[in-house]
Symmetry: C3
């Protein structure tokens, strides 16, 4: 399609107050709504968007992927609140990270690794003096309501995160994606989506010359879109975030391959050099 | 109940910026949220309502029903974005339709048929110059993010759809609902809702004198509300959108009848004439 | 954690227009979206938050718990719309309740019991002259769209509920929670959440000296947070709303114990006196 000129992003000022939530609270309980109530009690003008509340319970890697795949499409100034937090109530830290465009609140459990790997981190803090909303003690099982949400509320008002924490030395991961040369990061499944597509951590530069083995099945058919896919055959495609996906036209690749998020995958490279 | 005077709808001006989303993206992935991020990046004042993201994967007929059942209750000026799109990345068209009160964006795959059948269509376009949000190429697997959402963002700002497309000759379907006289449209199940109610394409005018066969079960008990329904017996009721539904009090008619969306249904008419 | 001073809630004025929805409509149908369309057609500035639409079909007790667990975290002036309504279309009443901080609309089926038990009720009405949005007759199966939503819309505009109903003598329940002395209320499961935690109606004052039997399993291990829980063993914890929960670290207590919402539970008290 022909393209018209690119749209300019709205200025930061006008998007102030946007809060995006990512949790494993599910859609049946009141937990996510309670966070929203707290945020709106603090900042009545806050606008709250759900990334997902259906992260598999305590699946930090999947949450990290969903955040990474979506955050860059949000307006400048968005505050991301990520509560996948198996360590709630223990001594695990809660961190707050300011990048060039966004703010992130999450447990210090690796959830932010992909974002931190990709972004320029301006400041990061360990939260030690969280703002309080309720006069009751902080619940040891629901920091989302008692720490994350009040913090998101005040950040969405434009307040600085510095007053709630102390500077924290956040390590940038040395690698996140499969790399055949360095060999430090193995290929793996980051997420299986609703359609049964397997999203891998293999960058698109391998698209032209890799064979991927999932369980006992070798996959080497490459497609560019679903229309050109053969039926009943899992294929390799470049997904919408630049990572290689294993997909099945009009069906679930995960189902056909018997794959789940823990299924190991291996990459064989042909003799073509990567198309850097 | 006694009724007070009817409420006047708010004027169009004040509802400008409302975007309603209907997709098969599910609630577990980031896809719907990414659309919202793009829309809000373009129009920070946009207000986004989810119709549903749980349309059965690629079930165009079900999506068409859900849209039809809800759109008329939305404020004037609402932009409806419908992404159930098995043909994504192929040569299928994306269309944009302006009715007297609303705008609709959808693939040209029949999803809008029920709306087009019912509404006065002012203008319709094939999208050929979509507004661009990102500097990256359009993903062949995620037009929702790269075409539908940017277009929804600019339309929600009040911009005209004409600049993004060329006029398109949209055919009004000759019939959508069961009609015993014309015989052109057979009876079928449009949707099965959460409660297991079977929503058919049979208009309420047949309510008083029809027997409906679902699989091997004949249903002829008519009820006006759930309170008067016998237990353990599927019944015929006029649903809230004027279509006949098969329902089971405190249970799932679909479960009891072993019905799914593909189950054929047949209508037998008594000797009463329809109450036109 | 050290605590800074408590945040002040935003003034009522600025949160006017907030509507919170709790239904058993599920996430796959258009029902909840249709309510939103109606509310926004009446009050274009309304802001709508979903508590949950995944209450188990017609499970009034579960809905009552979810409302009770979340409402107090919402801003002053929030209008709560609760549509778990097995009696829709029958002679059951729709009531509207004004507390010191919030307004509630619900069928008169016990859904509001926990809120009414806890709050100071200023006024309550039976709705007899509901505001009308559509010119069509009220559907006997979808009062959510035709009565609850129009009423929520006008209340969110700041209108008084008195003009739509007649004063109603709402009984405050004499007890809602387990009480070993009065013996009027037995212990039971109010809700099972996404993680398989069993939320009981047993107040935290029994935490220090009770043993709870679920089915054939006695549970007496007490934990304060998940980190200190032994593996593979259901434990007693004080939940985030001050009620005792049965939980399993990194697993589902409901699954391990084979419990569902109807499973009876019994409480044995030790010789310690309650720590009032």
């Amino acid at each position: 399609m022909k393209q018209t000129g690119r749209l300019t992003r709205a200025r930061k000022k006008s998007t102030q107050g946007l809060v995006a939530l990512l949790t494993d609270f599910g859609d049946s309980d009141h937990y996510a709504a309670t966070l929203k109530g707290v945020i709106l009690s603090i900042n009545p003008r806050a606008r709250i968007i759900d990334i997902s509340h259906n992260v598999s319970p305590q699946n930090i890697q999947q949450a990290g992927y969903l955040l990474w795949a979506s955050y860059q499409y949000f307006p400048d100034g968005t505050v991301f609140v990520c509560v996948i937090d198996p360590g709630v109530g223990s001594e695990r830290k809660i961190i707050c990270v300011q990048t060039d465009r966004h703010a992130f609140i999450a447990p210090d459990n690796g959830l932010l690794d992909m974002v931190v790997f990709q972004e320029n981190i301006r400041r990061s803090y360990e939260i030690v003096h969280p703002p309080r909303f309720s006069s009751r003690p902080i619940s040891p099982t629901f920091h989302g309501r008692d720490i994350f949400a009040p913090l998101a509320g005040v950040l969405s008002l434009g307040k600085s995160m510095g007053q709630f924490g102390k500077l924290y030395d956040l390590k940038k991961p040395s690698s996140m994606f499969y790399d055949s040369e360095k060999g430090t990061t193995t290929a793996r499944i980051l997420h299986i989506d609703r359609f049964g597509n397997l999203i891998t951590n293999i960058p698109e530069l391998y698209y032209g010359h890799c064979t991927i083995e999932v369980g006992r099945t070798k996959i080497s058919t490459r497609i560019r879109n679903y229309a050109e896919a053969p039926k009943n055959q899992s294929c390799i495609i470049v997904g919408s975030n630049g990572l290689i996906e294993i997909v099945l036209k009009e069906g679930s690749a995960a189902g056909m391959l018997g794959a789940n998020m823990g299924t190991p995958i291996t990459v064989s490279l042909g003799d073509q050099s990567p198309n850097f």
